[in-house]
């Protein structure tokens, strides 16, 4: 048996520091919002002319008077991703770019993907993304509250916040782009992390009924150990699937799968080191469960 509970304090402190750093990062550096949430134009180009590179593209776009823009390689050598921040809701930005590019660099491009999101839509998408995440947290909180006791609910929800905030903090730190699929990833992380926490909580509850003389501090440790092999195996299979999306699923899914990979790792960690110590802190005991049964 591994004594997870020996490190509760240490890891709690570490998590607290990580969460604080993430919050500071989110406030100071902020998130790198993609076209979905900030508005603007995104173009994925494939060039048949090998001589065209990021520098030459940057030069041509610089001459188009588009305001702030960003050119980078996207996957293979001849694929480029261009983001134009100009966001005045004029729907012909794309036509202007296509025309000017043809003039300056010849007809060597295929436009693989073009997205243009107006300011109204992007702010709505951001709002609905935040609402979706908040709603799912609230729904989870409510579900656990019904199935368990409020102490469990609080433990689970703090673990979720921990996972979501640190994942977003990492996205901020590395300036990774936040788009619609990242919101989907965050919601899935919420589901997965919850899933993991619930399995351990379920065992804690069972053990509370089984052992009348063991304190919660020991009991969480027993429960974590009993479910440990399941925790590891499920994390491994999920990570195997996610890593294969990350490596082979194409550029579009890279951010999504990366967010999920981080989320699975933090989710597994937080089920052990956030959710359970909170049960200890809140002095959950056999009585907590008895009350539930008598109701």
């Amino acid at each position: 048996m591994i004594n997870f509970n020996k490190f509760y304090k240490l890891f709690n402190l570490m998590s607290l520091i990580l969460v604080l750093i993430s919050i500071v990062l989110l406030f100071i550096k902020g998130l790198n919002y993609g076209v979905d949430f900030k508005g603007g134009t995104l173009i994925e180009l494939r060039s048949s002319d090998k001589k065209i590179n990021v520098t030459s593209l940057r030069y041509s776009f610089g001459n188009m008077n588009l305001g702030d823009f960003n050119v980078k390689k996207f996957g293979s050598d001849n694929d480029f991703l261009i983001k134009v921040e100009k966001n005045d809701n004029s729907s012909n930005t794309i036509e202007i770019i296509k025309k000017e590019l043809r003039v300056s660099m010849g007809d060597t491009f295929t436009f693989r993907r073009v997205e243009n999101v107006g300011p109204k839509v992007s702010s709505e998408l951001l709002k609905s993304g935040i609402i979706a995440i908040a709603m799912s947290l609230a729904a989870m909180l409510f579900y656990i509250w019904i199935r368990f006791e409020w102490q469990f609910s609080l433990g689970a929800i703090l673990a979720l916040f921990h996972d979501v905030i640190i994942t977003l903090g990492l996205f901020s730190l590395f300036s990774l782009e936040i788009n619609l699929s990242i919101v989907a990833a965050v919601l899935t992380i919420v589901g997965y992390s919850m899933n993991d926490t619930v399995v351990i909580f379920d065992r804690v509850r069972e053990n509370l009924k089984k052992f009348s003389d063991i304190k919660i501090f020991e009991l969480t440790n027993i429960s974590i150990n009993e479910t440990l092999s399941r925790t590891i195996i499920t994390s491994v299979t999920t990570l195997l699937a996610l890593i294969s999306i990350y490596l082979f699923g194409g550029e579009v899914l890279k951010g999504f799968s990366l967010a999920m990979i981080m989320g699975v790792i933090f989710g597994t960690y937080s089920s052990i080191y956030i959710a359970n110590p909170i049960l200890v802190k809140l002095r959950v005991s056999q009585k907590t469960i008895l009350k539930e049964d008598s109701e």
């Binding site: 295929t110 999101v117 729904a139 579900y143 989907a184 379920d202 294969s244 490596l247 699923g249």
Partner: protein, 517 residues
């Protein structure tokens, strides 16, 4: 609980075979397969354009205010109630009256049978909100008055949008209302929406009006620009004819001038009016005005009584074709703005499918190898269950003709990773039970029973997240949540019916074996 009736075994096998059959129809030519259902590919996989249009209702609201102002003027004159300073300002109608008429006028507006201010009984609200400040009346469109305007303009606009898109002849377009002032247009397979965008960007409000020299007309005059932007002309505000009187419009070559023109046919009322106006206006210039710009202004040489005519104006064949199309499909009630546009080229779509399917295969392979190494025979059972689970998932998506998106494929891969969780929970529990229980069969049974709550709780939490995602998410994300939701149900089915049956068969055969799992 280790006994499974023959009926149950047959039923489960039949269901499984049925879904394998359904799922396989996606991989056959549609002509050969027995069932015509298949999974739809989202725009991000098959390529295509997604346009979100917003109706600019401002002009309609203004029009409504103008009409109401005219109505109020006539109505109050008719009732011989005096009023002064009737005007529109800041989206509101203002007028003043004397103290003694205040009550009378107020009752005109607040009566439930009011002609001036229609009452919507379904909303329990009038079209206009009234505010009286001393002797000044202020009328603004009420919340429901605005909704009424918006929904009716949306109804008209979607019809026109549909006609225009249909005329262009794209492949199975999808045109839907969004909210009460937006229209979503999905155009599968279209990799350059420029033409559709320019067609939808025009209101196509066509009028025929006389060019005048001085301000003599009773309706007033306005200065309008020519379409080439170089010239302008003074045009009578009185409309001789508008696009509604058009029966047909077609692009044509004019044989005499070798010019591309748009020829049109008028309905009976239009032909009559046009004939009368041209007879009286010989020698005058007739301006053909489209969306506030003069296309051309030919001089009338003869009365045109046939009810057909031609519009010339430096057209190319393409622009004449487009104008004819716009005129045939009718004018939009209000301008449309494209507020969101996403286009995926067909080659990126195919690349995404290839990458997604490859990732799925690799992910699946990694998971089954891992499971086999970890659990041996039981791993094989879990793997077989996983395979069936995939078929069930694809089969159900096929039956509902669900739309598969790239995130949707990611959802399937994720399901593969997470689906083994239920089996892992069970197997680990059986392992624990076997430590204390000599009888394999009892250990197996308790393993299933005791792991049940954890499995249910775990899946319900994921389900909650997925359902919220479905309702809040848009487009591709919806596709992700659909596969996730369906994946949860197929996982539970395959674990509790198929895996359980197979493990039971194995355990019963090896009930005396040491180290069963």
């Amino acid at each position: 609980m280790l006994y499974f009736s023959k009926l149950r075994i047959t039923l489960v096998s039949l269901i499984t075979l049925f879904f394998i059959f359904i799922a396989s129809s996606n991989f056959q030519d549609s002509d050969n397969s027995l069932i015509s259902k298949r999974i739809n590919l989202g725009l991000d996989l098959q390529g295509g354009s997604y346009l979100l249009l917003e109706i600019d209702n401002g002009p309609i609201e203004l029009q409504k205010l103008q009409n109401t102002t005219t109505f109020i003027r006539n109505y109050l004159k008719d009732k011989e109630v005096d009023f002064t300073d009737l005007r529109i300002e800041d989206k509101a109608i203002f007028f003043n009256t004397s103290a003694k008429n205040k009550k009378t006028i107020e009752s005109f507006f607040l009566d439930k049978n009011s002609e001036l201010n229609p009452y919507y009984s379904q909303y329990k609200s009038h079209q206009f909100d009234i505010m009286i400040n001393e002797n000044q009346f202020r009328l603004t469109l009420s919340k429901y008055g605005l909704i009424d305007i918006k929904t009716s303009s949306q109804d008209q606009a979607i019809e026109i949008v549909r006609r225009r898109v249909d005329e262009v002849g794209t492949n199975e377009p999808n045109i839907l209302k969004r909210g009460n002032n937006r229209i979503l247009v999905e155009l599968p397979g279209l990799d350059d929406p420029m033409r559709i965008k320019s067609l939808l960007g025009k209101t196509a409000n066509l009028t025929f009006r006389f060019v005048t020299q001085k301000d003599n007309a009773s309706f007033g005059v306005e200065t309008l620009q020519f379409e080439d932007g170089n010239n302008e002309a003074l045009v009578d505000k009185r409309i001789i004819l508008n696009g509604e009187n058009l029966l047909d419009a077609q692009p044509q070559m004019n044989n005499q001038t070798n010019e591309t023109v748009v020829s049109f046919k008028l309905d009976r009322v239009g032909a009559k009016r046009f004939g009368k106006a041209t007879r009286n206006g010989i020698g005058k210039q007739l301006a053909i005005v489209l969306d506030g710009k003069i296309v051309s202004a030919p001089v009338i040489r003869d009365a045109i009584v046939s009810g057909s005519g031609q519009i010339s104006g430096n057209f190319t064949f393409q622009s004449a074709t487009d104008l004819a199309l716009l005129l045939r499909s009718g004018a939009l009630p209000a301008p449309l703005n494209i507020i969101e546009e996403r286009t995926v080229g067909p080659d990126l779509g195919q690349d995404s499918i290839n990458a997604g399917v490859f990732a799925l295969l690799i992910g699946f392979l990694l998971v089954i190898i891992f499971m086999f190494l970890k659990y041996k025979i039981f791993g094989l059972i879990a793997n077989l269950t996983l395979l069936v689970n995939l078929f069930l998932l694809v089969g159900i998506l096929t039956i509902f003709e669900a739309t598969l998106t790239l995130p949707g494929i990611a959802g399937i891969i994720l399901t593969v990773g997470m689906a083994v969780d239920a089996n892992v929970l069970i197997f680990e529990r059986i392992k624990e039970e076997i430590k204390n229980e000599k009888n394999n069969i009892i250990a197996f049974d308790t393993g299933y029973i005791k792991s049940k709550t954890a499995i249910l709780d775990a899946n319900i939490t994921t389900l909650i997240a997925a359902i919220i995602l479905f309702f809040m998410g848009s487009g591709p994300i919806k596709g992700f949540s659909v596969t996730l939701v369906v994946g949860i149900f197929t996982t539970l089915f395959s674990v509790y019916f198929i895996a359980r049956m197979l493990t039971a068969l194995y355990v019963v055969k090896n009930k005396d074996k040491e180290k069963l799992i």
